[in-house]
């Protein structure tokens, strides 16, 4: 048997309720977008997990490299002033 005819891979994102962000659910193989969508529905929403589905060809996803993670993410470490809890509010102030 040869490496017969593997379909391209698709990443599946599911929105569980309207208004919520789409969340990565997993992936699957399908020959084209329509079949990918149908199979995603059958595979990842059997238990009412979804109201909407995105499928994206896996090879179209651009991912950051783990080797870059220090350069990418550590610089945010000392910028805690981006969080609300960084600030001291005068005692008694409300609704802020």
């Amino acid at each position: 048997m040869s490496a017969d005819n593997q379909f391209p891979q698709w990443e599946v994102f599911i929105q569980s309720k309207t208004g919520l962000p789409f969340k990565h659910a997993g992936n699957l193989h399908a020959a084209d977008a329509e079949l990918a969508l149908q199979n995603a529905r059958d595979l990842y929403t059997r238990r009412q997990e979804g109201t909407s589905i995105w499928v994206v060809p896996t090879d179209q996803i651009v991912a950051s490299n783990p080797d870059d993670s220090d350069a990418f993410f550590d610089p945010a470490e000392d910028k805690i002033y981006r969080a609300a809890t960084y600030y001291t509010m005068p005692e008694g102030a409300k609704h802020i």
């Binding site: 379909f7 699957l28 193989h29 399908a30 020959a31 329509e34 079949l35 149908q38 199979n39 529905r41 059958d42 595979l43 059997r46």
Partner: protein, 253 residues
């Protein structure tokens, strides 16, 4: 025939169609052309068994003799089933399965689209739920007919062949006997002659996309609605009903 009697029969027929096709598809579990598609076929089967249960339960309640869903599924003999012959036809290869599904789903899509407006609450609720499922089944089989038709040379002749073979079985879906006319006159169900053009248009759209020019006309399948079946049902029911029939003194949940 009273309207109530006709209603019971009508529900049983809807249930029988769904059950036998649900059974056929369930036979394919673990035999799909690839794993993702295996799951898709099982989903359709599960939808159909859900429809079966709803219709048998309704029939039992309307009949008022205390019969439950399993009494209809397991305790009737071949001639008492009034499903169309279409649903008994063997799975064959994937193209045969898909061709059979297309005809079934397109017909029921158009039927349920009307039936959901029935003044009969049971039928309306059933159709409203089922039309959603059937819309998906129709899309699934249509997209596959298109891919097989416009895929490879081999897949083209296979699906064409399959459609030629099964096409004759559509007639029965439109047949109307006393059960139907009684309910049509009472305004509870649509007259299937009004669905014919829509059915044929939908099929034609799919065939066009599938690059299939023409489907052969064969014999005019008939008999199922009178309990006269193809030989296949006689092989389905003994397996389907084997456990309760072998152990009549036991109950099963």
């Amino acid at each position: 025939m009273t309207v109530d009697e006709a209603l019971v029969k009508y529900c049983l027929r809807l249930g029988d169609d769904a059950m036998i096709l649900g059974h056929r598809l369930s036979e394919l579990c673990s035999k799909g052309p690839y794993l993702e598609e295996d799951i898709a076929l099982t989903n359709i089967s599960l939808d159909l068994f859900g429809q079966t249960r709803m219709m048998y339960t309704t029939a039992g309640e309307l009949e008022g003799k205390g019969r439950k869903e399993d009494d209809f599924a397991y305790n009737r003999l071949e001639p008492e089933f009034e499903n169309v012959l279409l649903v008994e036809q063997p799975n064959g290869h994937f193209g045969n399965t898909i061709a059979r599904q297309l005809i079934f789903s397109v017909f029921y899509y158009h039927l349920f689209s009307e039936l959901k407006n029935s003044p009969n609450e049971n039928l309306a609720a059933f159709a409203a739920k089922s039309v959603k499922e059937t819309t998906y089944h129709m899309r699934h089989s249509a997209e596959w007919v298109v891919r097989l038709g416009d895929g490879t040379e081999e897949s083209h002749w296979r699906i064409k062949d399959a459609l030629n073979e099964i096409w004759s079985y559509r007639h029965e879906l439109f047949e109307q006997d006393e059960v139907d006319t009684t309910l049509v006159e009472a305004g509870l169900i649509p007259d299937t002659t009004t669905l014919k053009a829509r059915f044929e248009n939908s099929i034609k759209e799919v065939l066009d996309r599938a690059t299939i020019d023409e489907v052969a006309e064969g014999w005019k399948a008939t008999g199922g609605r009178r309990g006269h079946h193809s030989e296949y049902l006689g092989h389905i029911l003994p397996i389907f009903q084997s456990i309760p029939r072998t152990y009549p003194d036991s109950t099963w949940s």
